[in-house]
């Protein structure tokens, strides 16, 4: 547990604090994030998990970890492709913002920590981070991105992504429980 706690804390606190800091925006008439900024956060959040998966593919030899990483890469790529197609259709250009920058900054630290590990320690760190990351992203999508999105098509896409994220979380917990203690 000592090994994984920093990962979980880092990612969870980072994203959830971002969500919490954005909460007052719900009470305001103008949302804190524009649709272009929501689109940017969505793409960045998906890309971060693809990057984690690619690290896992290079570092792990555990079949369950490799299978999970492959699923994360293909699913999150599919979501990015649909988001890209939608913003193109809507004529919206994803706009970099404080939330996406924070996500990227924290992800760099997590990637560095993951790369420093190997073997069973890596597998545990990777899957613990996946559990924490998906919990945090689900909270962010449901609590921040969906409520702040004005365009109905973008909102619908985000709503469709939530069941996939929840399935990923369930899958990650299953792999986590299966890893040798």
């Amino acid at each position: 547990m000592k090994i994984i706690t920093p990962f979980m804390a880092l990612t969870t606190i980072a994203i959830l604090s971002t969500v919490m800091l954005s909460m007052p925006a719900f009470a305001q008439e103008n949302p804190k994030l524009s649709d272009a900024e929501v689109a940017s956060v969505a793409v960045v959040a998906n890309q971060i998990d693809i990057n984690y998966g690619e690290i896992a593919q290079k570092k792990s030899k555990n079949a369950d970890i490799l299978k999970f990483a492959e699923t994360m890469i293909s699913d999150h790529k599919a979501v990015i492709a649909q988001a890209a197609a939608l913003v193109t259709k809507l004529g919206v250009t994803p706009k970099d913002n404080a939330v996406s920058q924070k996500l990227l900054g924290d992800a760099e630290k997590t990637k560095k920590a993951l790369r420093s590990k190997s073997g069973k320690a890596f597998d545990k760190a990777y899957i613990d981070n996946e559990v924490a990351y998906h919990k945090a992203v689900i909270a962010a999508v449901e609590g921040l991105l969906i409520p702040e999105t004005e365009n109905q098509e973008l909102k619908t896409l985000l709503e469709k992504v939530v069941p996939a994220l929840k399935t990923h979380l369930e899958h990650a917990i299953m792999v986590q429980n299966k890893l040798p203690k």
């Binding site: 699923t71 293909s74 699913d75 599919a78 979501v79 649909q82 896409l157 469709k160 992504v161 069941p163 996939a164 929840k166 399935t167 990923h168 369930e170 899958h171 299953m174």
Partner: protein
């Protein structure tokens, strides 16, 4: 005596005819295959459990946002292989089976042959 034998023969013919007709009718009933659809949506097989008869066809259609597959769970006896978004796959059901998506292993479904 001849009349009695003739009546008996006719009765036997009649019974045989009724039996044959009845058999044909029930055979016909058994072999009208139905087609069922299972929609893959929101990371679920909908319906998750389907009751069918042997020889019925089940069509799975992927209306989700990511690719899936449909794979028999216990011995991988059959699989759809990768089903991209919008694609469908069908199976003539011969026996009950538990199945799952081998990509998203927590997604499960069941076919029950009556």
């Amino acid at each position: 005596m001849r009349t009695s034998l003739s009546i008996l023969k006719n009765c036997i013919y009649l019974l045989c005819s009724i039996f044959l007709l009845n058999s044909c009718a029930s055979e016909t009933k058994k072999h009208i295959p139905k087609i069922y659809t299972v929609e893959i949506k929101q990371m679920k097989f909908q319906p998750a459990e389907l009751v069918v008869q042997k020889g019925d066809t089940v069509v799975w259609i992927n209306n989700d946002i990511v690719a899936h597959d449909v794979t028999e769970e216990s011995s991988k006896a059959w699989t759809s292989s990768l089903m991209p978004v919008g694609q469908s796959w069908s199976l003539v059901v011969t026996q009950s089976a538990d199945y799952y998506c081998s990509i998203h292993v927590v997604m499960k479904g069941k076919l029950v042959v009556q």
